[in-house]
Subunit: 352 residues, 2 copies
Amino acid sequence: MAGEKGPRRIGMREVARVAGVSVSTVANVLSRPTIVAPETRRRVEQAIRGVGYVPSGPARQLRGVPSPLVGSLILDLANPFYAELNRGIEDRLAEAGCLLLACSTDQQPGKEQRILRLLQEQAVRGIIVAPASPDPTPLLEVSRRGTPVVLIDQPRGRLDLCSVAVDHTLGGRLAAEHLISLGHRRIAYLGGTVDPDPVAERREGLRLALAAAGLDTRRSLVDIRMALHPPPLAHAAEAAVEQILAARPRPTAVVCVNDTAALGLLGGLQAAGLRVPADMSVVGYDDLPFAARLAPPLTTVNQPKYELGRAAADLLLDEARPDHTHRGIRFQPSLVVRASTAPPPAGKRSQR
Amino acid sequence: MAGEKGPRRIGMREVARVAGVSVSTVANVLSRPTIVAPETRRRVEQAIRGVGYVPSGPARQLRGVPSPLVGSLILDLANPFYAELNRGIEDRLAEAGCLLLACSTDQQPGKEQRILRLLQEQAVRGIIVAPASPDPTPLLEVSRRGTPVVLIDQPRGRLDLCSVAVDHTLGGRLAAEHLISLGHRRIAYLGGTVDPDPVAERREGLRLALAAAGLDTRRSLVDIRMALHPPPLAHAAEAAVEQILAARPRPTAVVCVNDTAALGLLGGLQAAGLRVPADMSVVGYDDLPFAARLAPPLTTVNQPKYELGRAAADLLLDEARPDHTHRGIRFQPSLVVRASTAPPPAGKRSQR
DNA sequence: ATGAAAGCGCTAACAT
DNA sequence: ATGTTAGCGCTTTCAT
């Protein structure tokens, strides 16, 4: 009647007591089973099961065993692009017995800082981050302090860190070249008011392609900015239709910052009585699962989301190896042509 | 030139040394600043910043401070439904300074077990779980061992745990009643081969509504099962069209297990030359962001995903309070009528 | 093959 | 107001 002293956590001590051995023997059974006498080992293992022993991670870490926790700091967990990316990270981590600490920054440097701090306190094995702030200093600081950092969706440039990125300049070029070959000469780029780097790159790719086609990008590239906060993005995109149609000269095609924006744009265009692609071509970015099934099926630039995550996790896990050297991996996006793009309306085609 | 002895972690010891005080004074500055003399405090705070001290979470936990980590065990991180739910969890946790450990089970009891174990080792503050296994024993065991467990998307029934769930029977009823009122008499339910509980409930709701309308559910409810593994679900749904059209009597409407399945079905139906909703009505489930923008906009049953997550986190955090008692929260789904449902084709309407 | 003992970084009770 | 001390549960020498 006196034994039940609350569900206090059971440790190695208790196991040792039950098995009639010392704690170090229990420890040995766990980490170097071979050096323990078979009979003793059996007894210990039985005691472990008997009392339902679960080792304490924190205690281990205190002793210097690396943490199985890896942080991922991305813009928004609920965004399908990042959700898929996180899944890639998770799967790779699972292979190494690690767990994912998933965090959203909502693109706010303040949140990013706060979480970075929490993650360091937890002494995580490393952090995979899509930077919210343009200033890389805090990240470098974290890395210098001993927590490995892997940059995602941002080339490492001259930074002394590992990174995984997609060549968004190429992505932008691909989109633009496709439209140009279709006969478009005025293209709108639907982006946000504040650009994280990767988004600016896409616009640059567009510009490059337009220039390469001998077009004056001052006239042929129309920059449309939407307020990104608060979400949902699809609404902002829907509302942007007005701006797009008001632009002079009026663009005949729109390249969107991502598929979600394209989704909203499609709705807005339809509401405005324009047909896609007959009156206006639309290109998305990301190639989310629903893109193929929209009406019309969306032409978009595919990014290898899952693989991006896997590669980032791979790099991060590699940081633990003694011979690790920082690397930058770059993925190529690819254009997926579907039905939301077509030649511009007759009469617009060669208009200058 | 000799100071740089590797980036070994800096602890309270070092801070104390620099500030010329003892470790407990440093500890006091951190946890009970008021009892420290202002001047001393200033010196210590300066030392903290000076050496870039970051407290060690693991060491704290070992001393009994509760972990800020909370695990979430759901089917699939990349599934938009769960992604949004996780976001709700994350936001609520952030308010309490906690972090989310996001894990996917892929509906595999084995994975679930493995992760449950890892989470316990990390001594997390608690676990929010959408059970992958029908057997609740392991979960109860975890709870009994001292790690709070909150069930999600599954009513707690007689289980001694907190839970957050949606009334899926109502969801199924809502969908069926809508279709029945439109004149449909044969409805297909497009589900998976193995049902997690919540999915079976939806079917039951359908059955109830059909029966209430005086229909023989043996004839009026057509059960279509798709293989869920491997994904993508949208493909499976697309392929299921054949089965649906082959059913005799042929259904005039399909209720899908979720919006993703509906997405695929829409594609398959279109490929088969059927128009939605003229030839076939389609109802989704979840109301994901893209549902409103599909062609046609999808009639679907909305679940409060984000709120579900928040509520679960709320319950979990509450478990730490001494006066906590387990509770079950139940959300109501709601029908969102859009354009994918209409009366059945003429001639089918009153056919028996 | 097994055990004793030190100590990881921290908190809290106690002593000064 | 500040310091001393004893662990938390574990890993790891170093005896035995």
